[in-house]
């Protein structure tokens, strides 16, 4: 029983980070119907930027995260404004897939394909609550994920900007009639989506080691979560991530960690077979 609860705790913590790394993908998919294949590459890029800033210039990883996130927002904004908006559907996917490989190769060229990790000395060790171990880095990561999710939910629900995003998602023509600059909404959403994966990439980089081709592993998992949660549904992504996190953790504990990466794909196939619209049938 102890082992079970410990596995569930770990699963929830990991699932929360899955959610954050996937959230940007869901947002971009929901608003623009674009599958951003480069999402995970940007996450790894952010991790490398912070690793580089902290190991060479002794920048605190959390300051580094803020810088990297800002940089990724700007990259996403202009990437959409000048390139992605000209494409759609499969063409956009192909272009972004090309970009993911390009980023991966560039990272291999600059940093090499070896394992790196962002060291945060003050986050080593574990909390112990009622005899269960909660690694401090994962716990802090989870808190940050929750805070980011809460902010996103608040902005979407209550601000004019968030309502404009949801309106554009549901009906871009009518949104324009309301005086909403639809192109600007697309640019900003793309920037936010990329920036979100950056935050997640940095948090992951403090917990696990990473290397450029890890992006290929991550993007598969992320698309599986998006389909399982319901294409474009933010709450579906959150629920789906936690479920996949818990099941993966249970499989790793009771069967073998070798099989844990398969969980997401088994769930993907089952979803497409039984309920192709995912947990939440609709967008946001």
């Amino acid at each position: 029983m102890n082992l079970f609860i410990q596995a569930v705790i770990t699963g929830v913590l990991v699932g929360g980070i899955y959610a954050l790394v996937t959230l940007g993908l869901t947002l971009i998919f929901g608003v623009m119907d674009i599958g951003n294949a480069a999402q995970a590459a940007f996450a790894i890029l952010a991790a490398y930027i912070v690793y580089w800033l902290s190991s060479l210039y002794h920048v605190d990883p959390f300051i580094g995260m803020i810088l990297a996130t800002g940089l990724l927002f700007v990259m996403g904004f202009y990437l959409y404004k000048y390139i992605v908006y000209k494409t759609s559907g499969l063409m956009a996917f192909a272009l972004l897939y090309f970009l993911s490989i390009f980023l991966e190769s560039t990272m291999v060229f600059v940093w090499g394909n070896t394992y790196r990790g962002i060291k945060v000395p003050y986050l080593s060790g574990s909390l112990q609550i009622y005899g269960y171990y909660i690694p401090l880095d994962r716990f802090i990561g989870f808190l940050m994920v929750s805070a980011v999710l809460a902010i996103i939910a608040y902005v979407l629900k209550y601000t004019y900007f968030g309502k404009a995003i949801r309106a554009t998602m549901q009906n871009p023509y009518a949104a324009a009639l309301m005086g909403i600059n639809v192109d600007r909404i697309y640019q900003v959403t793309f920037g936010i989506g990329i920036a979100l994966s950056g935050i997640a990439g940095v948090i992951l980089g403090t917990i696990y080691s990473f290397y450029p081709s890890l992006q290929g592993v991550w993007i598969g998992l992320m698309f599986a979560i998006v389909v399982f949660g319901g294409m474009g549904s933010l709450s579906g992504t959150l629920i789906g991530s936690i479920i996949i996190g818990i099941i993966s953790s249970l499989v790793a504990t009771y069967v073998s960690s070798v099989w844990a990466p398969l969980v997401a794909y088994v769930i993907l196939v089952l979803t497409l077979w039984i309920k192709p619209s995912g947990i939440k049938g609709r967008k946001i």
Partner: protein
């Protein structure tokens, strides 16, 4: 308030409007009538900027707007209530109305505008927390009109506002439009329901095959032989 000169519009290779001229003066209701596919909806969409013209000029309050995108034209205080309402189905009624007041000018007058919309359509107030997608056809039309009014427009264009409504509801909607005109809105109306539309209008234009074939005072048009035969079934 609104002037269109020599407007030509195409969908790809297919020309839909062949040089249309008309004006809407302050405090008027002007109706454009014509058969399906004549180019009425195209005209409204081009005025608001959803479609790009090949040739011609569009003036809103004396200012040429040809090169402005939709969200900039809306700032000139013109609103379109589109065909089929185009409400945001997964937003609540309240959120749909909030978006009507998206522009900063409209936000300043949010409270009083919301109050007058709820006064005009008490049904919307009752359903304010409901998702707009759950509304009936008549309620959707109310919401589309209310949403347009939230932007505090001076000119309101209606594209087939009675489409798909039961006859008694259609009368209600047209009465509402007449009422809006009396409280100071300038209105451009596109309607299939020719008789009712001309009854509430000051002037009218007839478009057929992308060309303007008739124009005049509303009662004059009602007595016109062609209008009688083609649109009034007399």
């Amino acid at each position: 308030m609104l002037e269109v000169k020599n407007l030509e519009v195409s969908y790809g290779q297919l020309k839909v409007l062949w040089g249309i001229n008309f004006t809407v003066k302050k405090d008027e209701i002007v109706t454009i009538i014509g058969p399906n596919g004549a180019g009425k909806t195209t005209t409204l969409k081009t005025i608001i900027g959803l479609l790009k013209e090949d040739k011609g000029e569009i003036y809103i309050k004396g200012e040429k707007v040809n090169n402005l995108p939709v969200h900039e034209r809306v700032k000139k205080k013109i609103a379109l209530v589109p065909e089929g309402c185009e409400i945001f189905p997964y937003l609540t009624v309240q959120e749909n109305l909030d978006l009507g007041a998206y522009l900063s000018d409209a936000r300043k007058r949010y409270k009083e505008n919301l109050e007058s919309v709820f006064k005009l359509f008490p049904r919307l107030k009752e359903r304010r927390n409901q998702l707009a997608g759950t509304l009936s056809g008549g309620e959707r039309q109310m919401l589309a009109i209310g949403r347009a009014l939230m932007s505090a427009p001076e000119i309101v264009m209606f594209d087939e506002p009675t489409l798909g409504l039961a006859p008694n509801l259609a009368v209600e909607v047209l009465k509402t439009i007449k009422g809006l005109n009396e409280t100071g809105y300038t209105i451009l109306l596109v309607e299939q329901n020719v008789k009712m539309a001309l009854k509430i209008s000051h002037r009218g234009y007839v478009i057929e095959n992308g060309r303007l074939i008739l124009s005049g005072e509303a009662d004059e048009l009602m007595r016109n032989k062609h209008v009688k035969e083609a649109y009034l079934g007399l």
